[in-house]
């Protein structure tokens, strides 16, 4: 039985200063396995669509323009993504990667959450196509 059993902690805290991390001014290094914004590499992709099928959040869409010519556009919705990493595991060709450092994703513009990967010309075709159907 004692009164104020945590007094040692209190004194220690006074001497050492707060343990709070001052976020925007000080950043901790994210661990190597941290999952942030998905990246896609066209080189090995076969357009099998397993990533799209397995994504639990429907964040991925692989648009096939021409399978033989390997013209794929990878549409990725960052705001839908739950960063579970299943797509990376599902991909047999290692086209997908979740890097650890691109995690400050907050934005005021909804459009920023829609990311397209692929050849610039192909992306433009997909974007135009969308614009046509949307109108």
């Amino acid at each position: 039985m004692k009164l104020g059993g945590m007094w040692r902690d209190a004194i220690k805290a006074l001497v050492q200063g707060p343990s709070t991390q001052k976020y925007p001014f000080e950043r901790l290094k994210t661990p190597e396995r941290f999952r942030s914004k998905l990246t896609w590499d066209l080189t090995n992709c076969t357009g099998c669509g397993l990533c799209m099928k397995d994504c639990p959040a429907n964040a991925i869409e692989v648009v096939t323009l021409d399978r033989k010519a390997k013209r794929f556009v990878f549409r990725y919705r960052v705001d839908h993504c739950t960063f579970c990493g299943q797509c990376v595991e599902s991909c047999n060709k290692n086209c997908l990667e979740l890097p650890e450092d691109d995690w400050e994703l907050a934005t005021t513009n909804r459009q920023d959450f829609e990311v397209y990967y692929g050849n610039e010309a192909d992306v433009q075709i997909v974007l135009d196509g969308e614009a046509e159907t949307g109108a």
């Binding site: 104020g4 209190a10 707060p18």
Partner: protein
């Protein structure tokens, strides 16, 4: 000219505005210290000022089913009670602005006005948290008031005066903390009960009854109650320091002593678990009051033998 000086004394310095400011500073210091004890950063120095400015600027919502006049007037009474009490206390180490024989009792009751107003304010609304909070506020008032009063009367008894100013002068060469340690502890803890600081914060225990009696208050009313509490904190600390820590001779004396006391209060707040209201009452009546009375007995006997 005299009226002008009196006016300034009351409204600007050391009473009135300056007192409100100091109250907010002491509140900040208290919050900051508790935060630091808990290994947090805590608020910046202008946080209480920002809080109060924001609250004062905001609309005051009149809840359904309250007595409107009472609802508006209670915070004013609370704050004015606290500010009036400051006139009889040697604030910042200066002589009390005004005094009369027996102002000690008047001060203590002016200070109780805040608690009483809060209790009434809680009872005034239909809100169930407010009602329970009001019950607890008043229950607590009945429990700490007597020991607190008795603890402050201890030094008065020796100083043979009921005037705060005179006791303060007398206490300068008599450190009552040494001769009446129990009274000191009871006075300090009574002050915590009065201000509803943890561990005596059952009346506003946020995990049970949200904000207690204050739940329905917003805007100006809440700000006035807050300011009143800040002022009361300063007055309470000055009283205890003046009576038990060798009096308040000058501003430096005041700052050193009251800040020391505040540090002690903050550490108690951080280290203790909130008491249930029945435990609070039990503590006060079973231990607080009895210990003070015992000390009285000793003081009277010792005084008697010396005299």
């Amino acid at each position: 000219m005299n009226t002008l000086v009196a006016f300034l004394t009351m409204v600007i310095f050391p009473g009135g505005l300056f007192l409100l400011f100091v109250g907010m500073m002491y509140e900040w210091l208290d919050r900051k210290l508790v935060a630091r004890f808990q290994n947090r950063i805590g608020p910046r120095w202008f946080q209480p000022i920002a809080d109060n400015v924001k609250l004062l600027a905001k609309e005051e919502v009149l809840p359904e089913g309250v007595h409107p006049q009472l609802f508006y007037v209670l915070p004013v009474i609370a704050l004015s009670g606290a500010l009036t009490a400051a006139l009889y206390v040697p604030m910042f180490g200066f002589e009390p602005a005004t005094s009369f024989n027996g102002d000690l009792i008047a001060t203590i009751y002016l200070l109780s006005l805040l608690t009483l107003s809060m209790g009434l304010a809680g009872a005034n609304t239909l809100d169930r948290y407010s009602l329970v909070g009001a019950t607890r506020t008043l229950t607590q008032l009945f429990s700490y008031e007597a020991p607190f009063l008795l603890a402050l009367l201890g030094p008065a008894l020796i100083a043979e005066s009921w005037q705060i100013g005179e006791i303060n002068d007398y206490a300068r060469d008599h450190w009552f903390i040494l001769t009446q340690p129990i009274g000191f502890v009871v006075a300090l803890i009574g002050l915590m009960g009065k201000l509803e600081l943890p561990p005596f914060d059952a009346p506003e225990a946020e995990t049970e009854i949200v904000a207690g009696a204050m739940t329905e208050y917003s805007g100006r009313g809440l700000a006035l109650f807050h300011l009143g509490k800040g002022v009361e904190l300063v007055i309470g600390l000055s009283l205890v320091a003046a009576f038990y820590l060798g009096g308040l001779a000058n501003p430096i004396d005041f700052v050193v002593k009251t800040v020391l006391l505040l540090g002690f209060l903050a550490s108690v707040q951080a280290l203790m678990t909130r008491l249930r209201i029945d435990q609070t009452v039990g503590l006060w009546w079973r231990y607080g009051a009895l210990l003070v009375l015992t000390q009285y007995l000793v003081v009277i006997i010792v005084e008697g033998t010396i005299a």
